[in-house]
Subunit: 335 residues, 2 copies
């Protein structure tokens, strides 16, 4: 009997990491791996040595084989894939860069080259990380999750607010799974913890008039930043999982949880179920029900944030009693 | 007294062509040109020789100086600039390529490099000219006007239909100035002559959720194509100014007229006067008042095209009596 087949294109490391992570006993035998990969047992041994050099603590037992004891605090594409498992749209392909200008720029190039949706690009650090409206985003090496996802949704340009809603819902779910307390969504796309920014989302699109070619969802998660990692100007309004929880988080585990939640939320949207996403979003949104002041370009809109409409726009009841649909902009809560 | 100053960056050819085209007497003296440009009279003579080699018929008279008799049937950036005059936004910078993949692609790169709005790129031929929704656009060398305009309007992604309306209005005005009969707009962005396609517009944008970074208006004008220049599949539904008028048109003059009309329409939009543009558009639109069937992605919308809304979307009264706002899509008239 032959060993179970793996994907034709899967790398040796991916197969090894899948096997190490997939064993409920904890051990996978060198003989089995060798057969599955068509390599000699000494070649498998050499690969294990290399993984050890990359920070993986792998125990070897003559009786039982190999066992993964711990992983390095680094993002490794093959390992993220191994942990994510197969069958997701988002994360069907993962690239990790040590440093890049901006992961959105990398994904933009991939999109223009015709790469399919679901590809995710992480960078350990970004030299020119971007926030919304041309602002910069601090992305120090090894401290956060800075990544971008390529989507090709069937939406009109005016409907892409839905992607932001989806991302916010997925982020809230992932953060709650990591027991981060006091999470709330600040419309349209910030995630706050105790009122301070924990996650930012930058949604960029390329479109014809009536056809979105692609959307790039750029997400920055302040995972293990310490107060001193933030520039002074940002510090009072920013926080991280580490600051909130008092200890570093496993960034790879967090990344996998986020990608899985994004994938599920995207499937809900694609299945036409925006309504339940919007309801879930509303339940976590600190902006709804509040008096707000929103700057959209030159305009200032004041009123009470009442609900979302079916495109994802915020419905604001203005002073004049009119209900206005607002797409994006700079929100200030009025006290 | 010194000669009038020209723009610091203006090329010698631009200044010479401006002078030749700007003289009501028809003549411009070599001495005056030499002084204005800080060149010797023999250097001016050499430039004139070079312009002659590029197809300009320039007469030289010992008494009066130089006079432009005729221009070549070629698009020359400096000459288009000279004819357009100063003070326009659209066309403040003009590049002409002999051949390119797609002028929209060239402008996209310029946009990403931070070039300001108003730059226009022409190509004598495109190897991969694009129409809407991924279709190809036939762009044989020297037969048409294939060009793209970079705009940075203050619009939301859902409002860019306005740019299409603006372009259609400008095209209708320019074609009427060229006495093309039986022009009508097919919503959203084709210009038909006697029911056949004369002009196509492809609007592409790069945007954040609530901020259009840039819009690229790609326009293809079938100027001097003959029936045999169109692929057989397209021939029955396509036409050109040459086919309609029975003789070739001056492409450069047409280009200048179009750019001037685009500039004026863009100023109207920027000044907040979308209403009058929409009214003008409606007056030339063959789609309004008709029973239509519109394919938007997977959906088929049937009904009577009644009006435009304030974003530029088409309002269709469906069979159920509901008024639906349609953004783009494939329109068929129902007979």
């Amino acid at each position: 009997m032959s060993a179970p087949r793996t994907d034709a294109g899967a790398s040796t490391d991916l197969v090894i990491l899948q096997a190490l992570r997939g064993q409920s006993t904890g051990y996978v035998s060198g003989a089995e791996l060798a057969e599955r990969l068509g390599l000699t047992r000494s070649a498998i041994w050499a690969r294990m040595q290399e993984l050890r050099q990359r920070g993986y603590d792998i125990e070897a037992s003559p009786q039982h084989g190999y066992r993964l004891v711990s992983s390095p605090d680094a993002l490794v594409g093959d390992d993220l894939l191994a942990r994510l498992g197969r069958g997701t749209i988002i994360g069907r392909q993962i690239q990790v860069f040590r440093e890049t200008r901006s992961t959105n720029d990398v994904v933009e190039r991939l999109a223009r080259d015709g790469v399919g949706e679901g590809v995710v690009v992480f960078a350990e650090s970004q030299t020119q990380g971007r926030g919304r409206l041309g602002r910069s985003w601090v992305s120090p090496a090894g401290k956060g999750l800075w990544f971008s996802v390529l989507l090709r949704p069937r939406l009109l340009p005016g409907e892409t607010t839905r992607i932001v809603i989806l991302a916010a819902v997925a982020m809230v779910r992932a953060l709650r799974a990591f027991r981060v307390p006091a999470i709330e969504i600040k419309w349209p796309n910030d995630i706050l913890c105790r009122g301070r920014k924990l996650v930012g989302v930058l949604t960029e699109m390329q479109a014809e008039l009536d056809l979105v070619r692609h959307v790039i969802l750029g997400i920055g998660v302040n995972a293990n930043l310490e107060a001193g990692d933030f520039p002074a100007a940002v510090r009072p309004n920013a926080t991280s999982l580490r600051i909130e929880g008092g200890q570093p988080v496993d960034r790879a585990a967090l990344a996998v949880t986020i990608l899985r939640e994004l994938d599920q939320a995207y499937r809900r949207l694609s299945a036409g179920d925006f309504e339940s996403l919007a309801a879930e979003w509303a339940a976590s949104c600190g902006t709804l029900g509040k008096e707000v002041c929103i700057r959209v370009g030159d305009r200032l809109i004041r009123g009470r944030a009442e609900a979302l409409d079916d495109t994802g726009a915020l419905l604001v009841r203005t002073e004049h009693g009119r209900l206005e649909a607002v797409v994006g902009g700079e929100v200030t809560l009025v006290h």
